[in-house]
């Protein structure tokens, strides 16, 4: 069971209120799509500079596995307060602990509400990924 203390997007990001700020990360499902459980397949991560203003839905970074590049998007608008520099050097953190140590950016949000209808609770997110599993 994934954590129920945050909201999820259909593009497999999560957002979590953490005091006055919001943490953004990607889910285990997103990580597994890229590396199929082989944490060494994650090879590079490009993260934004602190201070950058992000709009809702904006791409703020990119992650590369040995066979694919994927965008990192924020579902919440805000200013980048901090990036998790430890994952730049140790991408395996994203595979081992995507929901805690694998947070990617900390934002000062324009709104602290996570009531956006585009954001899902964990139960709805798990229904979504169950439907996304390939049938063949």
């Amino acid at each position: 069971m994934r954590p129920d203390d945050r909201k999820y997007t259909k593009t497999h990001e999560w957002v979590k209120l953490d005091g006055d700020s919001i943490l953004v990360g990607i889910t285990d499902f997103a990580v597994n799509e890229l590396c199929s459980g082989n944490e060494s397949d994650l090879v590079y991560c490009d993260l934004p500079d602190p201070g950058r203003e992000l709009e809702e839905g904006e791409t703020f970074g990119e992650i590369e596995s040995v066979k694919a590049v994927a965008d990192l998007n924020t579902p919440i608008a805000g200013k980048v307060l901090e990036v998790n520099i430890s994952i730049e050097e140790h991408l395996e953190i994203l595979s081992r602990d995507p929901f805690k140590d694998g947070w990617i950016v900390r934002l000062e949000p324009k709104s602290k509400s996570l009531d956006d209808p585009m954001l899902m609770d964990v139960a709805d997110y798990e229904k979504l990924i169950a439907a996304e599993e390939p049938s063949a």
Partner: protein, 243 residues
């Protein structure tokens, strides 16, 4: 009922044109996937999206460099057939793990190559004689998902996944190039094999294996406009030397 895919062939395209057209198909391709076959004129070296240009000495020797939207190592686009697939990420060929999508696409390519008596397989866990740790070229590094024959890599491939869409690049070598010695090439098996003949064979196997009907098309006006605007960017110092 076969699923309709768009088919686009553009022979001897300039490097910037080739990359800009793939970008147009990736960003604005619509709900029907597009299979595109192309070749390059002049030949050019393409850098992987994240590659540092300073780490690619071949960039000094190549007449022209572009940077791809897809990752991985550098490729010298000479004596090859290049293909791209642009599709919604929810398409059954691409939905889910990246690994599964390569398995499906490479199985179809291997079937096509078998027509030329090429026994192509995914590499699996064995290493290749074409691997070279010191090289930054795509064809000198392999993963278990790569399509190989004769213990050498013969197809370079990479994907970009963004905003619900996927761009899949594939580069199929006819023979080794000055920058990519020791790689597998289809001309070892069929010396006169032409890009158009190989493209037709691959198209046929994709159609059979995935139950597809291809509709040959021209470049659409919106795509042509995108290419005119963006082609210079892909060969520009701003992009090529951005890392």
């Amino acid at each position: 009922m076969p699923e309709t895919w768009r088919l686009l062939t553009t022979w001897d395209g300039e490097p910037g044109f080739n990359m800009a057209l793939d970008e147009a198909l990736f960003l604005h391709g619509g709900s029907h996937p597009t299979l595109r076959f192309y070749t390059w004129k002049p030949t050019a070296l393409s850098l992987g999206y994240f590659q540092k240009i300073a780490s690619v000495p071949q960039g000094q020797r190549a007449a022209l460099c572009v940077r791809r939207l897809t990752g991985g190592g550098a490729i010298y686009h000479s004596d090859e057939l290049t293909f791209s697939i642009s599709a919604p990420l929810e398409h059954p060929l691409y939905r889910g793990e990246v690994k599964g999508s390569y398995e499906r696409i490479h199985a179809a390519l291997a079937q096509a190559f078998a027509e030329f008596d090429v026994d192509a397989k995914m590499r699996g866990e064995s290493s290749l004689s074409s691997d070279s740790e010191d090289s930054v070229m795509c064809f000198h590094h392999s993963t278990p998902l790569d399509l190989v024959w004769g213990a050498r890599k013969g197809v370079g491939s990479a994907q970009r996944r963004s905003s619900g869409r996927v761009l899949h690049h594939g580069s199929i070598k006819f023979k080794a190039t000055p920058f990519e010695p020791g790689v597998a090439g289809l001309h070892e098996h069929v010396p006169e094999l032409a890009p158009a003949e190989l493209a037709l064979c691959i198209q046929r196997h994709f159609a059979e294996r995935f139950c597809l009907a291809f509709t040959p098309t021209e470049i659409q006006p919106g795509e042509a406009s995108h290419v005119r605007e963006r082609a210079p960017f892909f060969t520009s110092e701003e992009f090529v030397a951005s890392r």
